[in-house]
């Protein structure tokens, strides 16, 4: 029991560590950029998937469903292979950089945004969809109108995407390398500290991660509630 109590006490003491603040900042930037870029691409694609009757729609739907459950370590490995200096994108010199981490998390977040956006649009009442059809708008305007209808669901997709990437460790450890001051984020810090049995700082980083998730979830659900 002492072990756990000591760890909790140390955890709170570690919260004022300036290095931890740097790690928190990088975590927010990396996962924030990944979530935003996955929204930018994923929401229009998801809307098209939800509304559309186009060739390859079934295949895309299956791909998105598979993608929503992609193992992060596999995404990390695939990206590492692509970015490795002697690999196809090696000339970009992106291995073990924050950019590579954003790319990995973007790939993990994208199928979630696409899939959830498509789902909320598909769940619109049939009457609403018929009305949309009747307006004889072009595809883009139709998607836009549909998205306005379901925007709380899109906010939910954003939360889910951010929540997934901010808490994953497999991909960012493989492509980031946990370099101090450069690619160390909360999850890789927790791995590092727990492997060295420094449970206090590990738990401290865990508390921050939990608080971030809470703040994001609560503020986004308030946006939704304010409608």
């Amino acid at each position: 029991m002492d072990l756990i109590l000591d760890a909790i006490a140390d955890a709170f003491a570690s919260l004022s560590d300036p290095e931890l603040i740097e790690v928190v900042a990088l975590t927010l930037v990396v996962s924030g950029l990944a979530a935003i870029s996955s929204l930018a691409l994923g929401v229009p694609v998801g809307a098209a998937l939800g509304l559309g009757r186009f060739r390859g729609r079934g295949t895309l739907r299956v791909a998105v469903d598979v993608g929503m459950g992609l193992p992060p370590v596999l995404v990390g490995l695939a990206l590492l292979l692509l970015l490795w200096r002697s690999g196809p994108l090696g000339s970009l010199r992106l291995t073990f950089t924050p950019t590579a981490m954003v790319m990995a998390q973007f790939l993990l977040a994208l199928p979630i945004v696409v899939g959830l956006t498509a789902s909320v649009i598909e769940s619109l009442p049939a009457a609403a969809l018929e009305q949309l059809e009747a307006l004889k708008l072009n595809r883009v305007d139709r998607s836009r109108l549909a998205l306005v209808e379901v925007w709380p669901g899109v906010v939910g997709a954003a939360v889910a995407a951010f929540g997934r990437v901010v808490s994953e460790v497999g991909a960012v450890l493989i492509v980031g390398g946990n370099i101090s001051g450069e690619t160390r984020v909360l999850t890789t810090l927790i791995v590092q500290e727990s492997r060295q049995a420094r449970f206090g700082p590990a738990l401290g980083a865990g508390i921050v991660l939990l608080v971030i998730s809470l703040i994001v979830n609560v503020s986004l659900s308030r946006i939704r509630g304010a409608r």
Binding site: S86, T95, G177, I179, S180, Q196
Partner: protein
């Protein structure tokens, strides 16, 4: 019903068979390459005692041993090992094999220095970059000792990258960042796709010596003692030599010390 009886029978055999399993914790350098498991396989074949192997940084291995969670440790940090033995926690201990540390760097960048300390000073004067582990491993302890002798506060420099992770990942980062790194020879040889070359600095300070200790008072302490004894026996030495060839295709990565006379 029959199946139940068969299962119960098997459990009885397992319980009475005396096949104690031992848990060995070794530095990640030895485990990442598969070397310790290869050696331990021969012990199991010869004695029937199963050996499970886990890899952790040396400091963590010894912490696990202090808590009684493992039966045998194989580490490479003489000071920490001496402390462990002085505390009366080792039942049997022996230096089982040695290797060396490699100062590796990007191809085409040759170090002029021929000693570890001057090589580190040269790396510092060219502003690295250098990738360190800072994870409580035997390798990172040796690295900090050399930086101290070189009178360079490396971790405070902007050209110093710290991974806080194992040898394999640290080598990858060094390779991809065209950086220097202090690596243990076995892991250096067994990590694939590295664009790094051995600077061939040969210095007694880069000697790396592994000590096996059986931990006092664990459940399998008898088997743990015999494992440590076996490692320095003729059979154990033969197994170590065979594992070298098996894993590294050469006999001399981990060398056994001159035979001990009892």
């Amino acid at each position: 019903m029959r199946l139940g009886l068969a299962v119960a029978g098997l459990m009885l055999v397992a319980a009475c068979g005396g096949n104690q399993a031992i848990l060995v914790a070794a530095g990640t350098t030895l485990v990442d390459s598969g070397f310790v498991e290869e050696v331990a396989g021969d012990f199991t074949a010869q004695t029937g005692t199963d050996v499970d192997v886990i890899g952790e940084a040396t400091a963590q291995v010894l912490a696990l041993a202090r808590s009684g969670s493992v039966d045998v440790t194989i580490t490479h940090a003489p000071d920490l090992e001496a402390e462990f033995e002085a505390d009366g926690l080792a039942s049997r201990s022996a230096t089982v094999f040695t290797s060396r540390f490699v100062i590796a760097g990007p191809p085409g960048v040759e170090l002029e220095a021929r000693s570890a300390v001057t090589a580190f000073q040269e790396i510092a004067s060219r502003q690295g970059p250098f990738v360190g582990r800072e994870d409580g491993s035997g390798t990172s302890l040796v690295e900090s000792a050399i930086w101290q002798l070189a009178e360079v506060d490396a971790p405070a420099q902007s050209w110093y990258l710290s991974t806080g992770q194992g040898m394999g990942l640290t080598l990858q980062v060094a390779s991809e960042r065209s950086a220097f790194v202090l690596a243990e020879l076995g892991t250096f040889l067994s990590t694939g796709e590295l664009a790094l070359v051995d600077s061939d600095v040969d210095d007694p300070a880069l000697q790396n010596s592994y000590r096996a200790m059986s931990v006092v008072g664990t459940e399998s302490s008898t088997a743990a003692d015999s494992f440590v004894g076996w490692l320095v026996s003729a059979d154990g030495r033969a197994a170590i030599e065979r594992a070298n060839v098996e894993i590294f295709d050469r006999p001399d990565v981990y060398r056994t010390p001159a035979p001990l006379r009892d």
